[in-house]
């Protein structure tokens, strides 16, 4: 049943297009600032499109010894990869066991997870607890303590509970043990939830700012988010020295913009390929939220 395209459709398409633009324009604008010549910026001559296009700011940001962006990117990548693997393993295996009726204490354990999730201990007790466990200046602080996010544990558990009971029963009849049931039967059929928790955890670790800021003090261990926030928002105003290279002015504005672009690039590049999983993941999470 086809209807004519009316005024509403046109306006609606227009609104939605604007909404779509609003989602990417800030990134585009930041990029334009990064490639603009500082002398136009400082006078307020750049409204949206770049002036004096050049890539000096990126070169500067990459080569500045004080602004260790590559260390930040490398660290964040390591933490994200390790952290994602560990959190998927821990979340999945915990959720799996907690859905097995044979385990008697599963309600107690789950209640404790939920309780500590709803009742927030706060940053200070967490800081004191983790530091007494030796997590100061220790890269594992990015990987171990938050490996099990209770929200994802709930989602995973709900998903596994939705699996037909016959799956396991048939396997037991065949003489399989718990390890082989998990690896041969459950994991293959629950790939969507694994992809989901992997992606959510991965993004969360990459984007973490407060945790590394509280625990990772040594320059060599800092994440990209810390490195970025310190120069763009913090008071560390001396990291970027205003200079003129080949007649191009570099000032705080275009250098900071270049740093922002580099910090978000991995997410933006990966996004088109994984956004499908994100969408599914959100739905899995909400079906039996």
């Amino acid at each position: 049943m086809r209807r004519r395209i009316g005024a509403f459709d046109i306006i609606n398409t227009l609104i939605l297009s604007i909404v779509g633009l609003v989602c990417i324009v800030p990134f585009l604008y930041t990029f334009f600032i990064a490639i603009s010549d500082g002398k136009f910026l400082i006078r307020g001559d750049v409204s949206f499109f770049p002036k004096g296009v050049n890539l000096q700011s990126f070169i500067y940001v990459f080569t500045n010894p004080r602004f260790d962006i590559m260390t930040g990117v490398r660290n964040s990548a390591i933490y994200t990869i390790l952290g994602t693997i560990v959190s998927v393993l821990l979340t999945y295996s915990t959720a799996y066991v907690l859905t097995r009726p044979r385990i008697k204490c599963r309600y107690l354990i789950m209640s404790l997870f939920v309780l500590t999730w709803v009742f927030d201990a706060g940053m200070i007790p967490r800081y004191i607890a983790y530091s007494s466990l030796g997590f100061i200046d220790n890269i594992w602080v990015m990987i171990i303590p938050d490996a099990i996010n209770t929200q994802y544990l709930i989602i995973t558990k709900a998903y596994l509970e939705g699996m037909p009971k016959e799956l396991e029963e048939a396997a037991i009849v065949d003489g399989a043990n718990d390890f082989s049931i998990l690896s041969k039967i459950f994991i293959p059929v629950t790939k969507p939830i694994i992809a989901t928790i992997a992606l959510f955890n991965g993004v969360a670790i990459w984007n973490q700012y407060l945790v590394p800021q509280m625990f990772l003090k040594t320059k060599e261990l800092k994440t990209i988010q810390q490195v970025l926030a310190n120069v763009t928002i913090g008071t560390e105003g001396t990291t970027f020295a205003n200079t003129i290279i080949n007649g191009i002015s570099l000032n705080q504005q275009n250098m900071k913009a270049a740093a922002i672009i580099i910090a978000m690039l991995p997410i933006v590049i990966a996004y088109p390929f994984v956004q499908k999983y994100f969408r599914n993941g959100i739905l899995i999470g909400s079906v039996k939220g």
Partner: protein, 542 residues
């Protein structure tokens, strides 16, 4: 339902159990890491042969480490003492560094020694975190001992109530801020800098500059700067904080130079009103007032001609000349404005740095063994020896300075050539205002190590009659702790209140001003002043 109840009560039980477990755990990793840190140094000390230097680890603001690594004289000092310091990098900013000392204490990750606030050293020292240096100084550090004997004021300042010395303080050179101005801008607009002698003249000059340069550049504001915009100008209105025999007003504690102000001063109202006028007329950079102008922003404004005046560190005028000014604009010419005077022609006295600043102390971790303490003290002691003082203030004879026939010394390396070397290159540098190591300052060398522009201005303007008297007060540990906490909250509230008046969030009139002062008193300003006065009386035996 029942199961839920049991679960929750069990959780609480478990939580309580964890307290016990946690408490016993608390000690182990902390002490073991400390132990390993000090044993490693101890081992290093024991096995030290002639070519193996003795070492210890030291926590320091990262900026200071960056500076230290480039110093030629520092390398000579390590070589001569046979002691090598492994610096542990702190944050880039000073205050963050002090915060990290607290955090490292909490987590037991403090190295053998650290820089810190005097208040921290006294409070945590009394709890057992730091070594009482007194007996060790006597034993291992004859030069420091001599310094203590020669400066009883200093000894009292660093001593805790129990008589222990948990920290030492470095000496600071006497210095104050200068107003720098673009001489080329003044010429273009037709302002004679010699005519700018009072605050009114300054305002008029800014108006002229604004009319000329602000006409087609909306980002031009004649005056710009970084950090604490309103408070920097307090001295122009006799509104600096003080402590004397009559009493004390404003935050005097640890705010000796940049942030010294007194909202109860007779002309404090006029001070804020003037800055409000500057703000309203666009004469002063609004982001600076808002507190969002970073050092980098300010530098970029000065370099690109978006500002003509600043009030900052005494050698900054020179810094702009050698760090891109003329590259941006061949006419770029930054000069230093003489002190301003009041209507009667009296010099408006500036606040200056204290000889001993309480926020630049050094302390030794209590977990260190005697060998490490000895190493640390011997290294610091070197800078209190005759030879060490010459090295740190003048360098090496024949390389960086020469001795004239009359016995005076003179630098033979060029200031500009040395200071403009890029980061990471070894150079001669004697900017003693930077905390490098704890040492006495040779004021003569400090001024001599400058370009003619600054050296001349410093010798002319940094004279006693232009600087406010800044007595060093001795506080008890309890006073230090209380002041430290009170100042933290009151200072921010004062700054927020003043900013609110200037930008117009709060209307400025006698009534609102008095209410503001009362509010600050209630918040703790009055208490701060009482403690300061108390300390003044004890310090000077009144």
């Amino acid at each position: 339902m029942k199961r839920k109840v049991t679960a929750i009560s069990l959780a609480i039980l478990l939580a309580l159990l964890m307290v016990l477990v946690g408490c016993s755990k608390e000690e182990t990793p902390a002490s073991s890491s400390k132990a390993s840190a000090s044993t490693s140094t101890a081992v290093a000390a024991d096995t030290s042969t002639q070519d193996e230097p003795r070492t210890y680890s030291w926590f320091l603001r990262s900026q200071f480490i960056t500076w230290l690594r480039d110093l030629k004289w520092y390398d000579v000092a390590e070589e001569r003492t046979g002691i090598h310091v492994d610096y542990v990098e702190g944050p880039l900013e000073l205050n963050d560094t002090f915060n990290e000392v607290d955090q490292r204490l909490a987590s037991g990750t403090l190295p053998d020694g650290t820089m810190l606030r005097l208040a921290q050293a006294k409070v945590y020292g009394a709890q057992g975190a730091f070594v009482d240096l007194r007996p060790y100084i006597e034993k291992y550090a004859p030069n420091i001992q001599a310094y203590l004997d020669a400066n009883p004021d200093y000894e009292r300042l660093i001593s805790s109530d129990d008589g222990a010395i948990y920290a030492m303080i470095r000496e600071s050179p006497v210095l104050a801020d200068f107003i720098g101005y673009r001489a080329d801008h003044f010429r273009a607009v037709g302002i004679d800098p010699a005519e700018v002698t009072t605050v009114e003249d300054l305002t008029e000059a800014m108006r002229a500059l604004k009319a000329y340069y602000g006409k087609d550049n909306p980002n031009y504001y004649p005056f710009s700067g970084r950090e604490n915009a309103p408070t920097r100008f307090a001295y122009l209105f006799d509104a600096a904080s003080y402590a004397d025999a009559e009493g004390s007003s404003g935050i005097y504690y640890s705010h000796e130079k940049d942030y010294s102000f007194d909202i109860k001063a007779p002309r404090a109202y006029e001070w804020i009103q003037t800055i409000k006028t500057w703000y309203d007329e666009g004469l002063i950079n609004p982001s600076w007032i808002d507190g969002t102008n970073t050092e980098g922003d300010w530098e970029s404004q000065m370099l690109s001609g978006n500002a003509s005046l600043f009030l900052d560190f005494y050698n900054r005028a020179e810094w702009f000349m050698t760090n891109g000014g003329p590259d941006n604009d061949p006419d770029f010419d930054m000069q230093v404005l003489p002190w301003l005077v009041d209507d009667e022609g009296n010099i408006l006295k500036q606040t200056s740095a204290l000889l001993w600043r309480s926020d630049n102390a050094v302390a030794i971790n209590a977990s260190c063994d005697e060998e490490t303490i000895r190493t640390i003290l011997e290294f610091i002691d070197y800078f209190y020896s005759e030879e060490g003082m010459i090295l740190a203030n003048w360098g090496v004879e024949g390389e960086s300075f020469k001795t004239n026939e009359d016995g005076s010394r003179e630098f033979i390396v060029d200031y500009t050539a040395e200071e403009s070397k890029p980061e990471g290159t070894k150079k001669w540098s004697f900017l003693s205002d930077r905390q490098t190591v704890c040492k006495p300052v040779d004021q003569e060398a400090f001024y001599a190590w400058n370009t003619p522009l600054i050296a001349e201005a410093a010798s002319r303007y940094l004279v006693p009659e232009a600087l406010l008297a800044r007595p060093v007060l001795v506080y008890t540990t309890e006073q230090e702790q209380e002041l430290s906490n009170l100042v933290a909250s009151v200072y921010n509230a004062e700054l927020a209140g003043l900013t609110g008046f200037i930008v117009g969030n709060t209307p400025l009139n006698e009534e609102t001003w008095n209410a503001f002062v009362e509010q600050m008193d209630a918040l703790g300003l009055q208490r701060i002043e009482d403690i300061q006065y108390e300390a003044y009386k004890t310090t000077f035996g009144l």
